[in-house]
């Protein structure tokens, strides 16, 4: 079986049955950040703790990446196999808006306020054959 590893440790719970995004929360002012950081950008405190941000969010703003980005983008695609993807800020229950790719549904224009579910997907395969797993979102099925 192909081994799957997270694109970066600590961005989301993985492996997990119901993965969640992970961020940090300042123990002084309560502000959350993604990805987790040691310092708080809101109040300057150095005391933050890891917190789960949730796995269902609301689209706050969005765009569509319609052509294949150049470096530092690193995927297995070619300009021929590239498929446009959504990029948006997703308002998470943990109290922060997280920038993420999201799945586009043919014939549906994304809209601000739509519900999105977190998904962890294979993004590319590295030199040793491991699948690099990345967080993304897909429109929620109510």
């Amino acid at each position: 079986m192909t081994q799957q590893i997270a694109i970066k440790e600590g961005l989301f719970t993985w492996p997990a049955e119901k993965p969640e995004l992970l961020g940090s929360r300042c123990i002084h002012c309560g502000e959350a950040a993604f990805p987790a950081q040691n310092d708080c950008r809101a109040c300057g405190s150095r005391e933050t703790e890891i917190t789960a941000l949730g796995n269902r969010g609301t689209l706050w703003t969005w765009t569509i990446q319609s052509f294949m980005p150049k470096s530092p983008y690193l995927s297995d695609e070619t300009p021929e196999t590239f498929k446009p993807y959504g990029v948006g800020y997703v308002e998470m229950p943990g109290g922060v808006r997280v920038e993420s790719r999201f799945e586009l549904i043919e014939g549906q224009v994304p809209h601000i306020g739509m519900s999105l579910d977190l998904v962890i997907l294979p993004f590319r395969t590295d030199e040793s054959g491991q699948e690099i797993m990345m967080f993304s979102f897909k429109p929620a099925e109510e």
């Binding site: 569509i64 808006r97 920038e99």
Partner: protein, 380 residues
């Protein structure tokens, strides 16, 4: 002590395949010196910067090794604004009487490709396809349209005006007017922004000679006074480029704080301004910046643009030389190009693009990564 601009110079924006970035910077300085009737050895100090064109202080190899204080400035899109601010304070403090600021650049073709670590970000952010400035500007404007009832019509009109003005500007890069339909039907790059709604990296140089206002009339009959120069960075909660997350409460952009600081310094308000340069990295940002700089309310832009308010003959002329959209963005030079154009307008030397009614007060505004803004207020 007031600060005056007594010489202005531009090396044409666009492409200069036979010249290095530094040569374009030196070319702008020579033009500015000639404009002031001065020579390089008269310069007591220089501040300058470039992103991809090499060190500014290496310009002494082109212009002469006179021993002057030459400080390199690098501050992203506000490089020109920061150089000008440094010169402004150097003269205001009384330390120097006369000097030069210069910005130049020479970027490779196509969009910038940033390195995540330069921005304090991990590689996954760039590798996964979220580190594109075009996406940020699109998402910022998508939300702005939603919050303030702005439509695509406004975006198209900003581009239409930019290329009309570019066609009237001999030093501009894009000198061909585009029709409303050409812009509206151009390729969608990043929804809602299309091809002709983005500026591109380019080449060029810009320079200004500044002096203590008390001696300005020795050099020119038309001194332009730099009444305020302010540079500000972002507060927590400001929605900025290359941010893997944003706070729930959106704070005022650095543009708002820089603008307020500059108006206070100058003792003037938005209603006093006759001609303005607002950063137009894309059409959407020009629209946002109209309000963030205090020239209208959020949402009012749709009507103003429909009425042609920001055209050369409108009530609030914006980017009379075509702005970044028609000139491209050589990052180091772009902010000083804005000041150059305001000087041209206040001197009444705009020719086919001259704003009528002898404008007295001009305004320049840059905004860029990673969330900083520079504002200058000029009078004659």
């Amino acid at each position: 002590m007031d600060v005056a601009i007594i010489g202005i110079g531009l090396h044409p924006f666009g492409r200069s395949p036979t010249l290095t970035g530094q040569q374009q910077g030196a070319s702008a300085i020579r033009t500015a010196l000639a404009d002031a009737g001065l020579t390089w050895k008269d310069m007591q100090f220089a501040y300058g910067g470039s992103q991809d064109g090499g060190n500014a202080d290496a310009l002494v190899n082109e212009l002469g090794l006179t021993g002057l204080q030459f400080t390199n400035i690098w501050n992203g899109c506000a490089t020109g604004g920061s150089s000008l601010h440094a010169a402004y304070t150097a003269i205001k403090s009384g330390e120097y009487d006369i000097g030069v600021v210069v910005g130049f650049d020479k970027h490779a073709r196509g969009a910038f490709n940033p390195t995540p670590s330069d921005w304090g970000l991990d590689d996954w952010y760039g590798e996964s396809g979220m580190m594109l400035t075009t996406q940020f500007f699109a998402m910022k404007f998508q939300r702005y349209m939603h919050d303030h009832g702005i439509s695509n019509d406004s975006l198209i009109r900003v581009s239409e005006k930019a290329f009309q003005n570019g066609a009237l500007t001999p030093t501009a890069w894009r000198r061909e007017a585009l029709s409303y339909e050409q812009i509206a039907n151009s390729m969608m790059v990043s929804n809602p922004l299309r091809k002709y709604m983005f500026c591109s990296p380019a080449e060029g140089g810009a320079a200004l000679i500044l002096c203590n206002a008390n001696i300005a009339e020795r050099y020119t009959k038309k001194p332009i006074y730099l009444k305020a120069a302010a540079v500000r960075t972002r507060h927590y909660g400001s929605f900025e480029v290359f941010s893997p997350s944003q706070a729930m409460n959106v704070a005022d952009a650095p543009t708002v704080t820089a603008s307020n600081a500059a108006f206070e310094l100058a003792g003037l308000g938005p209603k006093d301004v006759d001609v303005m340069q607002l950063q137009d990295t894309d059409s959407g940002t020009e629209i946002i910046h109209m309000a963030e700089n205090g020239f209208c309310e959020h949402g009012e832009q749709e009507k103003l643009l429909r009425e042609g308010a920001t055209k050369i003959n409108g009530s609030m002329p914006v980017n009379t030389d075509g702005g970044c959209l028609a000139n491209g963005e050589p990052v180091g030079a772009s902010g000083l190009r804005q000041v150059h154009e305001i000087c041209v307008q206040l001197r009444g030397e705009g020719g086919a693009r001259q704003v009528s009614g002898s404008p007295k007060v001009g305004y320049t505004h840059v905004y860029g990564a990673p969330g900083l803004s520079g504002v200058n207020i000029l009078t004659r």
